[in-house]
Amino acid sequence: MSVGIRRISGVTVSDLELDLDVFQGPFDLLLALVMREEIELSEVPIAEIVVAFVERMQERGEIDLDSASEFLVLIAALLEIKVRLLFPGEEDDELEELTAEQAEAELIERLIEYRRYAASARWLGDRTADLRVFRTGPAPLAPRPDPVVEAFSEDPWQLHAVIGRLLTPPPKIDISSVRRRLVPVSEFLTRFRALLRERRGFAFEEAVAGLDPISQAAAFLAILELYKAGEADPVQDELFGPIRVARGSGKAAPQPAPAETEPSQIDRAIA
């Protein structure tokens, strides 16, 4: 049976040209390099790839649903693999570390699986051309059933069991991993303000030494917050060099994008 499998080459996804800091070239090549570990997936900004794809679709002025779907599957798989690389050794079996070969095999498996269902969806779609209309409710002049309800036929503890499950939170494993990611920026704001009251300045690296990467990111956001409010004056002499945070002048820094970084919003973003 011919089900019209889409052609493999020439889909828009493979033509997508990227211009990222870590990489310039087609999306496909990026995938290949990631798989060969020539590029660190952890350094690939996935959001920028998505933006590039959306921009390209806009340029074309049309949405190619096939390639958009395929792109979503690839990006979702890539994100999941990236998460596993960033958080290795989670107790969950599903999140075990991947070798490059495994990651590649999985990516291909995902695409094959998705294409299988996309093809069966087209098969279903072809059949909708044949309009089948029938009645789904009771017949108009048919005898109606007597609405008899059998007394004492059901056990009220069934209801208790069901509401009990709706009252039981999901298992703890998840809460612990969520908690690890819940790093309130406000905590760092308080801590850095206290530091700047005591001293004229401090070294950022020392202040965040020993913290996990996400907490460090939250700390950095707090510094940016303080800079915006004029409370801190961070100085970095060279790229990737140490950051020295001095007490600010008290004057608010110019804000290119106002109100975008309310502390509460940042907290939510980090969470």
């Binding site: 029938f134 009645r135 017949a139 108009p140 209801l159 009990g164 939170p169």
Partner: protein, 194 residues
């Protein structure tokens, strides 16, 4: 038979209510006179003794019904004992309405984590829940509560007051707001976990 006759035949088979000549004419884009002639042709074919299905003029218009000879067999099917118990979805919806009611469909959907609900319609049909006014929230959704038939079915002499208590969840039987808050909280947590 003409194509119009076939269309009228199909319409009457597919409809859940009797259809008037005017309605049939509108659906088929033809005149009432032509529809009448099509109905005559069908009445000739679908008549007692010649068919198990009979065309009949009823209150709201024309409709098919089972013939007299087949009526007993059809009644047997329609009134077959409801062996199928309550589905998981129905049971959950029923439990929420019983413990939390009066409660609206959107709230049931939110607690269950299911985008659309088919459960309430089925329970209404079976006479296990009924409408109980409207909520004061946006859109004024209809509220539902369980019926006396529900209490009979579950053998609850005092109605919902006889439901098994929720003490092991630190919830008092009377405190609906605490129960509501907890159900919503857990629903949100599940949403995050799934």
């Amino acid at each position: 038979m003409s194509e119009l006759t076939h269309s009228v035949e199909a319409l009457l088979f597919v409809a859940s209510e009797p259809l008037s000549v005017r309605e049939l004419a509108a659906y088929t884009d033809s005149s009432p006179e032509r529809v009448e002639r099509a109905l005559d042709a069908l009445a000739d074919r679908y008549v007692e003794g010649r068919s198990g299905v009979v065309l009949e003029k009823a209150a709201g218009g024309w409709g098919f019904r089972a013939s007299r000879s087949a009526a007993a067999v059809c009644a047997r099917m329609v009134n077959r004992p409801q062996t199928r118990g309550l589905s998981q979805a129905a049971l959950e919806t029923l439990a929420i309405v019983a413990y939390l009611g009066p409660v609206s469909r959107p709230e049931i959907a939110r607690i269950r984590g299911v985008a659309a609900d088919a459960g309430v319609a089925g329970l209404l049909e079976r006479g296990l829940v009924e409408e109980a006014g409207r909520a004061d929230t946006i859109g004024n959704p209809v509220l539902y509560r369980v019926t006396t038939a529900f209490s009979r079915m579950f053998g609850l002499e005092e109605g919902v007051a006889s439901l098994p208590g929720l003490a092991e969840f630190d919830l008092s039987d009377a405190d609906h707001e605490a129960l509501r808050a907890r159900l919503h909280l857990v629903a949100d947590q599940r949403d995050g976990a799934a």
